[in-house]
């Protein structure tokens, strides 16, 4: 009898049954893991030791893989910069001229703003410290959009801290190891971010779905948004500070309002992590009750007072020694 006659035919069925049984066991284990996983919670303990360990292993490997490509990209950018220096110079000069005008306006507005705050005795938000890190790994799939950043608990990063690129909000920290943090991107299906439309102050929840443009859920009001409107964080709920740029409103293919993220306008390489704590989480609430600095002298009113009211005052001033 040759082997083509298959003398081991009788072992096929038990093996197939064994393989199917192994599949069922593995499925049960996987389902149990799915049930106990609590990726979305803010409790630091939920980001379990296994995930921390995998983050610590993955970060240096992907960082090393990306390093030569980043270096090559830097060389190519340098060569391009050399050949296009003249046109780049013209463009930058035009930008600088425009920026000078805005600078003057910004200084005047900041001064005016500071004076109004002092006059009203407003308790303004304290300055937020931040740390800068480099993204060393990213996932771009439909069910997980996260990044690993090479700063962690050793640099003061904690779960919940907002993450920004130079263009706008990127996401927030959901897991921290000693020197690595995992960032949940705004596009992740688990991401929910309170935002507002800058033009109308209409509130909405930015809802990630794994696509390139997250949706605006629970958008209320009459004509609350138009294409091109600026979207900012609203600060509602105390998770994120108010006023961080998120993106611009666009109309999705499905007709829903979506947001083209500002952070997508350039590769997300370096990020800033705001070490932001909401006021309700401050240990020393008395810091908010400190008296505001004395108001600066107010300028004289522009409208001239009535002549009848001015004359006695001038007389009295003139009579004084």
């Amino acid at each position: 009898m040759s082997f083509r006659d298959n003398p081991f035919g009788e072992v096929r069925l038990p093996l197939l049954l064994g393989a199917v049984a192994a599949c069922v066991v593995a499925l049960v284990v996987a389902f149990a893991l799915l049930m106990v996983d609590r990726r979305q919670t803010y409790q630091t303990g939920a980001y379990n030791a296994l995930r921390k360990a995998s983050d610590v292993v993955v970060a240096p490997v992907t960082g090393a893989v990306a390093a030569p490509v980043r270096w090559a990209g830097g060389v190519a950018e340098g060569i391009g910069g050399y050949f296009f220096a003249a046109s780049e110079n013209r463009r930058l000069k035009a930008e600088l001229a425009a920026a000078r005008v805005w600078r003057e306006r910004a200084i005047a507005l900041a001064d005016e703003n500071a004076r109004y705050r002092a006059l009203l005795g407003l308790a303004v938000d304290p300055p937020v410290p931040m740390v800068t890190g480099r993204t060393v790994s990213e996932s771009r799939g439909p069910y997980a959009n996260t990044r690993l950043v090479n700063v962690g608990a050793a640099q003061g990063v904690r779960v919940g801290h907002p993450v920004l690129s130079e263009n706008g909000l990127v996401g927030r920290v959901i897991g921290v190891s000693s020197r690595v943090s995992r960032v949940l991107m705004l596009t992740d299906t688990a991401s929910r971010t309170p935002v507002m439309i800058q033009r109308t102050r209409a509130r909405a929840i930015l809802t990630g779905d794994g696509g390139w443009a997250p949706g605006l859920a629970y958008l209320r009001g009459r004509d609350p948004a138009r294409v091109g409107d600026l979207v900012l964080t609203s600060g509602d709920g105390g998770v994120l500070p108010r006023g961080i740029t998120v993106g611009r409103v666009v109309r999705g293919v499905d007709g829903d309002w979506r947001v083209q993220l500002a952070s997508d306008s350039a590769p997300i390489d370096f990020v800033r992590i705001l070490l932001f704590e909401d006021f309700v989480k401050l240990e020393d609430l008395r810091a908010l009750e400190r008296p505001a600095p004395p108001p600066p002298p107010t300028p004289a009113p522009r409208t001239d007072p009535p002549a009848a009211a001015v004359a006695p005052a001038q007389k009295s001033r003139g009579a004084a020694p």
């Binding site: 093996l15 593995a26 996983d37 993955v58 799939g141």
Partner: protein, 170 residues
Amino acid sequence: MTTLAQPLRVSRWVGGPLLAALAVSLLLAAPIRLLGLPLPEPVTLMVPAFAWAMIRPAAAPAFALLLGGLALEGLWGAPAGLWAISLLAAYLPILVLRNILAAQSPVVLWAWYGLACLLAQLVGWLISAWIAGAPPSLAAAGLQWLATVLLFPLAALLIERFRDADVRFR
């Protein structure tokens, strides 16, 4: 004759492809843009999952897919169990149908591989929608499916390499 009926070592046909698939996923997770575009993110473990089901029935691939799925979730930051369930859900039907698929041409096998990838994506989509409370983007899922389907030649190579390696399953 020592060449007859030699058992196939698990480390060769399961361990090696598993590590290779995970290594490729690790490389593709690097934050690199080529020509302004991010790298694709195929589910590389679908390649050995399909090939293992076609090569021979065994218990080891199921647990390898469980471990590989968990590693993928650690790498991508996905909910634990999502990819393990999706991969096993695609592996099981191919395993049951392997006798029917064994004699098919590569093109037909490619179509079956595409269906298996579609099943994995569907299960992942449903789990993700259930966990997040909102449906994930179909376009993003479709792009990942397409990137995964394009990897079929690697699965065909793996099948060709190990299909006749164990004489009991010729």
